[in-house]
């Protein structure tokens, strides 16, 4: 168990900076998820914590000790790789025992720990099999087991579920959550999947192009995204974001319709973000956003309407009741929920508060 401290951590490859100064204090037992699109530097950041990549600048502390110059084996961490990296010539049992043997643990203690992990992960029937004789889900569990038996100060996982099919992914997600509740291990988890991120995390690091755009709880990230990038990345379907001209207690929409809005932070050009789930159908004669529907997807409970703000090319996604009769070509007027307005600076992309 340990606290992890990242202090202005940077990484450059041959002069090309890919991590631009990330700082976070991870509490003992906390589950932190690093989420972001592919190539944004998630793996690089995790691998710097693991000691697999050198740290170009800044410091990383694990359990109160600066580990910048320590080898991975001196850092008291365990890691689960995206491709699992199981030793192909060793049985499941040997895979899990490998690190314990190196730590010169007694035979009895090794057997006890492997047995405990095998029970927890339902791997007992497979202990003597080689990895190639296991399914993807079983391999994934062996990789988890190999990390857990070591009882490390911190557990690092790099997209551990991305090679599994959708159903198994949901199952394993729940198992990982449960395991964390049971072991209380400080965990750093990398994913590009926002559902995994939102459901697993105590706190999220939302990354974009090597920058931590926001570090906050999932709910905070959803309710008050710190930047336009975060707003667009978290939430499904994605938030509608478009440019408006603010003034006189309202905004001019693309297509020149005027919508009175409370709490507009400042006059001039702004980016306005509205989640599909925070738009309701307008009443007769109410000032609203006119949307021209181009298609409707019906999912049973809900239906999603895809269209454009009338008089413009700006796309809009609407969440409609499942019973809605709206169809392609219809005009729908919607009104945003004033409690869920998001404004961003058009230059910097940062959130602008009212």
């Amino acid at each position: 168990m340990a606290r992890i401290l990242l202090n202005d951590v940077r990484k450059s490859y041959a002069g090309n900076q890919v991590i631009h100064g990330i700082g976070i204090e991870i509490a003992d037992g906390e589950f932190v998820v690093i989420v972001g699109p592919s190539g944004c530097g998630k793996s690089t950041l995790l691998r710097m914590v693991a000691g697999l990549e050198a740290i170009s600048a800044g410091t990383i502390e694990i359990g109160g000790k600066v580990v910048n110059d320590l080898e991975p084996r001196q850092r008291d961490i365990a890691m689960v790789f995206q491709n699992y990296a199981l030793y192909p010539h060793m049985s499941v049992r040997e895979n899990m025992a490998y690190g314990l043997k190196i730590a010169r643990m007694s035979k009895a203690e090794i057997a006890a720990r492997v047995a405990k992990a095998a029970t927890m992960l339902e791997l007992e029937p497979y202990l003597d099999r080689k990895p190639r004789a296991l399914s993807g889900g079983q391999r994934q569990r062996v990789a988890m087991g190999r990390a857990l038996v070591r009882e490390p100060a911190a557990l690092l996982l790099d997209e551990p579920l991305s090679n599994l099919d959708a159903k198994l992914r949901v199952q394993m997600r729940l198992q990982i959550k449960e395991m964390h509740l049971r072991t209380g291990q400080t965990t750093l988890y990398v994913t590009h999947d926002q559902v995994e991120a939102m459901t697993l995390a105590d706190r999220l690091i939302v990354m974009n192009k090597g920058v931590a755009e926001q570090i906050a709880t999932p709910l905070e990230v959803y309710e008050r995204p710190a930047s336009e990038f975060v707003a667009g990345f978290i939430g499904s379907p994605a938030m509608n974001i478009f440019t408006v001209r603010a003034g006189d207690g309202g905004v001019t929409l693309p297509g020149d319709a005027v919508l009175p809005l409370p709490g507009v932070p400042r006059d001039g050009e702004l980016r306005l973000g509205l989640r599909p789930e925070h738009l309701r159908l307008a009443q007769e004669g109410e000032a609203a956003i006119p949307v021209l529907l181009r298609s409707v997807e019906r999912l049973g409970a809900d239906a999603f309407g895809y269209g454009m703000i009338e008089g413009s090319e700006v796309p809009m996604v609407l969440r409609l009741p499942g019973t809605s009769r709206a169809e392609r070509g219809d005009r729908i007027a919607v009104v945003p929920d004033p409690a869920h307005l998001h404004f961003f600076d058009p230059e910097t992309g940062r959130r602008v508060e009212g």
Partner: protein, 293 residues
């Protein structure tokens, strides 16, 4: 699978004919001759042959000189295979660590393979010639009475060194390929599990190289047994005495130098059986080759 159907029966035979002719002329015919001669004995003047059955084989296998050649061959092959593989593996592991100039380093490593055996032999002979060899002098300075022309062990060391040097390139290529096939993440996982580089090498890398190592072991043994004639011929000519006379070299000596055709043919047949056995062994192994992943 698609089958090509030829319009008539003659064309396929015509297409195969050159290859078949080569195989017949350069393999089956001499092999048949060797079989025939291994059962014959010529009189002292080489005018008349008589059929003697397996007598030549009995004579060869009972000959202390032949048993000496078996022993020399065993020692020579074992040493060449061991050193050629161990050194190549060491160099391949080092090559993995090179960051700049990897291609240059690898190209340099391949060169010895392009050198003809006899020339490689001459090279080593000159370097270690007791009277004018560039590298013999420092040996003598160190108090070693270096003389491969008189000392059988020195001669053996020299042919082993020359034969090893020539085979390292080949092994190096296969080991480099084998090492590259091992996923980096396995070594990273081992590092995180607490393994030192050395421990990871012996517990992860070396076991995963087993298929390559096994393949090379067979290839190197065949090489040492049969492909080193040119080196031995150039460096020691089988001497001093019979200290470096391998089985293949003895076939040549008995048949072409001493003209004892019956004995030489019987030895060839024995060698042929060894090659067939080794090849069969290798094929069986490759079919059942261990696949990880």
């Amino acid at each position: 699978m698609r089958r090509t159907v030829f319009p008539h029966k003659l064309l396929p035979w015509l297409l195969l004919a050159p290859q078949l002719a080569i195989t017949l002329i350069f393999f089956y015919w001499p092999a048949g001759q060797a079989f025939r001669q291994s059962m014959l004995r010529e009189d002292a003047f080489g005018l008349k042959s008589t059929f003697v059955g397996l007598a030549n084989f009995r004579k060869v296998l009972g000959d202390p000189n032949y048993l000496n050649a078996v022993q020399v061959t065993a020692v020579f092959s074992a040493l060449v295979a061991l050193f050629a593989m161990a050194i190549a593996l060491f160099l391949a592991v080092q090559a993995e660590k090179v960051i700049r100039g990897k291609g240059f380093y690898r190209t340099l490593m391949i060169w010895p393979y392009a050198v003809a055996p006899a020339i490689a032999g001459m090279l080593w002979l000159f370097m270690f010639n007791p009277s004018f060899g560039t590298l013999a002098w420092p040996l003598r300075q160190m108090g070693i009475h270096w003389n491969p022309l008189l000392d059988g062990d020195h001669a053996m060391i020299l042919v082993v060194a020359a034969a090893t040097w020539k085979q390292i390139s080949y092994n190096f290529l296969f080991f480099v390929a084998g090492l590259q096939a091992i996923p980096r993440s396995l070594l990273e996982a081992a590092a995180i599990d607490g393994a030192s580089r050395r421990h990871a090498f012996w517990t992860i890398v070396f076991p995963l190289l087993t298929p390559t190592t096994f393949f090379l072991l067979v290839v190197n043994t065949v090489y040492a047994l049969f492909d080193t004639f040119g080196i031995i011929h150039a460096v020691t000519g089988g001497g001093p005495g019979k200290a470096t006379e391998t089985l293949v070299y003895k076939v040549y000596n008995d048949g072409f130098v001493n003209l004892i055709m019956g004995d030489s043919a019987a030895q060839s047949v024995i060698l042929m059986i060894i090659v067939i056995a080794l090849t069969a062994f290798q094929f069986r192994f490759i079919e059942r080759r261990v696949h990880y992943g």
